[in-house]
């Protein structure tokens, strides 16, 4: 039954645009497109997050991917297909440059989180500082072509984006599944538990860590490109820096970091929640919606530490199939410090 879950879900989602929703249709599609894109990004984050590599700087990869594509299109009219490819390569290089010394010098735990957080802030501040190119903190809009164009990846009809985002999300699940079934998973779990022990049985710690970081970052950049093409506007505060990085981690941890559909459940919940609060409060009581959102996040984290899928999965199936090898607190040692002093 579980094997059929993803195909059934995908089929149901594929039918969604055909359901008559009267005037609500455009809006529902808009929310669902966002959920699919952020699920994909969350899935990319969880590729490394589930192995104890908790990155707080995925905003850097997201922002680099989105900005590179948009700027290449606006200034040199490079198609997003080409610009996106360049952006993904740039992001992969950035990830490798960060991951190499982190793996080499055993920067783990809190230290890894703070280094990646610094990377995210560097990208955000660079975007703001280079305001002649990037529009600074005001952001920049994608130059419109005026008609539907596959070359420019711009469409007036939301359904095109919807099916694109659905395909992207399914591709992300496929990558997650492949990693889950591979040797790399066992190797990464061993590394996450004890690097020295893993190295002693012949696992190339540095190589595996860099590979999973680059994969995660590259997919995040793809998500950034998709988001930028859909919204047609990029802004350093929504696509880079701590805010968005934390939102990604929140969605994943809330849904369940160790399961295939966890990031999707988390993204759906957080986006639906913030959209609902936004509508409920509208233009009155500015800030109230986000206040409740923040409050609920704290409550969820305290009362559902294993995430929704993690907590519910244990009850439904009598034990998770995609589970952490050990309880979470053993995966990332509490007192993980840098290299031995």
């Amino acid at each position: 039954m579980r094997r059929a879950l993803v195909p059934v879900l995908a089929a149901l989602l594929a039918l969604a645009p055909l359901v008559p929703m009267a005037g609500m249709k455009q809006y529902v599609l808009h929310v669902m497109i966002q959920i699919l894109i952020w699920s994909f990004i969350g899935g990319a984050w969880s590729l490394m997050g589930r192995f104890g590599l908790v990155s707080l700087g995925h905003g850097a990869f997201l922002g680099l991917g989105a900005y590179a594509t948009v700027l290449l299109w606006n200034f040199w009219a490079w198609s997003p297909w080409l610009g996106g490819a360049v952006a993904v390569v740039l992001t992969a290089i950035l990830a490798a440059v960060v991951a190499y010394p982190c793996s080499r010098f055993q920067v783990v735990g809190h230290y890894f989180g703070l280094v990646t957080l610094a990377v995210g802030e560097v990208i955000r501040l660079l975007i703001i500082a280079e305001r002649d190119w990037t529009g600074g903190s005001l952001g920049v809009s994608l130059k419109p072509v005026g008609s539907d164009s596959l070359w420019a990846l711009q469409f007036a009809d939301k359904r095109v984006f919807y099916y694109g985002a659905l395909a992207l999300w399914l591709a992300g699940l496929w990558v997650w599944h492949r990693v889950d079934r591979s040797m790399a998973r066992s190797a990464m779990e061993a590394i996450g538990e004890d690097e020295t022990a893993a190295a002693s049985v012949g696992i190339h710690v540095t190589r595996f860590k860099i590979a999973i970081t680059v994969l995660s970052a590259a997919l995040t950049a793809v998500g950034g490109v998709a988001y930028a093409q859909y919204i047609a506007y990029v802004n350093p505060d929504t696509l880079a820096g701590i805010g968005v990085s934390l939102r990604i981690v929140f969605a994943v941890v809330l849904g369940g970091m160790y399961s295939l559909l966890g990031p999707a459940v988390g993204a759906a919940l957080t986006i639906a929640l913030s959209e609902w609060l936004r509508i409920a409060f509208g233009l009155k009581l500015i800030g109230m919606a986000e206040t409740i959102y923040g409050f609920l996040l704290v409550v969820f984290i305290i009362f559902l530490p294993a995430g929704i899928v993690g907590s519910a999965g244990g009850l439904l199936r009598g034990g998770p199939r995609y589970g952490p090898p050990h309880p979470p607190e053993l995966v990332a040692p509490r007192r993980s410090r840098g290299a031995p002093r």
């Binding site: 230290y111 280094v115 500082a129 934390l246 109230m288 986000e290 607190e329 840098g338």
Partner: protein
């Protein structure tokens, strides 16, 4: 070419800013070192204390010292509240959950401040004289916060080294299991640590309101920098954090004059990233 006198003034400003940054960094570092949790929302507590001083002094006409004391009290109360309401229920959870719980607090505080006080920038301006030291402009509004910071840091040092509770706090940061075996109650120590950490945040807020204007997203301005300073100095290493505060504030101040404010921060963060690879244990750690 930039006049060397501007660079000298930037260097002096860097030192003056470094004092207040050290206050923030040492407060966070204390919590970091003892409870082993990163309070992502630490600088947002500072933001609340800044608002308190603003309202008491600017709106209700309290004297400056009374507003400052109220902010210190609020800071300590917030530290205790955060520990009791958020941290202590999840002390046994995975580190990422602990981090995210305070991350949620960050969203909560920022939006709640927006809701209550809108996004207007507010500041308290004092008209105090400035001194002219051979062309270097030395405003008293910056010198006094610096002096108070240094005094507070000395007091913290004496508290940690000369009192029984301070010694217990340092002992827990070295080995919490052993401390439990010695009959000390770690939870009480955590509570005291959170209160002291919050108190430092309150004092920093009371000083920062005279240097910067406050707005709901103030935490995003100094927050990341404060984490970097803690790591750069070495987690739990107080002297290291103190030195690191001045290194970072000098970089920001001087690069800010040479290029732009944003580039100052970019260079400071890049220095941080490089340093963590060169000296993962902190700048003052002995290589072993």
């Amino acid at each position: 070419m930039i006049d060397p006198i501007f660079l000298a003034e930037a260097a002096v400003n860097g030192i003056l800013l470094g004092g207040v940054l050290a206050l923030l960094a040492l407060g966070l570092n204390l919590i970091f070192g003892v409870i082993d949790i990163v309070w992502i929302a630490y600088v947002d507590l500072v933001m609340l204390c800044m608002y308190l001083v603003y309202f008491l002094v600017q709106v209700y006409g309290w004297p400056v010292w009374a507003g400052g004391l109220a902010a210190v009290a609020l800071g300590a109360a917030l530290g205790i509240a955060v520990h009791l309401l958020i941290i202590s229920p999840i002390l046994g959870s995975a580190p990422i959950n602990q981090l995210l719980a305070t991350g949620g607090l960050l969203f909560f505080l920022q939006s709640f401040a927006t809701f209550l006080w809108t996004t207007d920038h507010r500041s308290v301006r004092l008209s105090l004289p400035s001194y002219d030291l051979g062309g270097i402009f030395l405003p008293l509004t910056r010198v006094i916060p610096f002096a108070i910071s240094i005094l507070a840091l000395v007091a913290l040092y004496l508290f940690l080294t000369r009192t029984f509770v301070g010694t217990a706090i340092r002992a827990v940061s070295q080995d919490r299991e052993a401390m439990g075996l010695m009959g000390a109650n770690p939870h009480r120590i955590y509570l005291v640590t959170s209160a002291v950490g919050g108190l430092m945040a309150g004092l920093a807020g009371a000083l920062l309101i005279f240097l910067y204007s406050v707005h709901p997203f103030f935490g995003g301005q100094l927050g990341p920098l404060t984490f970097m300073i803690c790591v750069l100095g070495g987690l739990g290493n107080m002297v290291g954090a103190f030195v690191a505060s001045f290194i970072m504030s000098e970089i920001i101040s001087i690069a800010g004059v040479l290029w732009s404010t944003e580039m100052g921060y970019v260079i400071a963060f890049v220095v941080f990233i490089v340093m963590i690879f060169v000296r993962p244990g902190g700048i003052l750690a002995r290589r072993g």
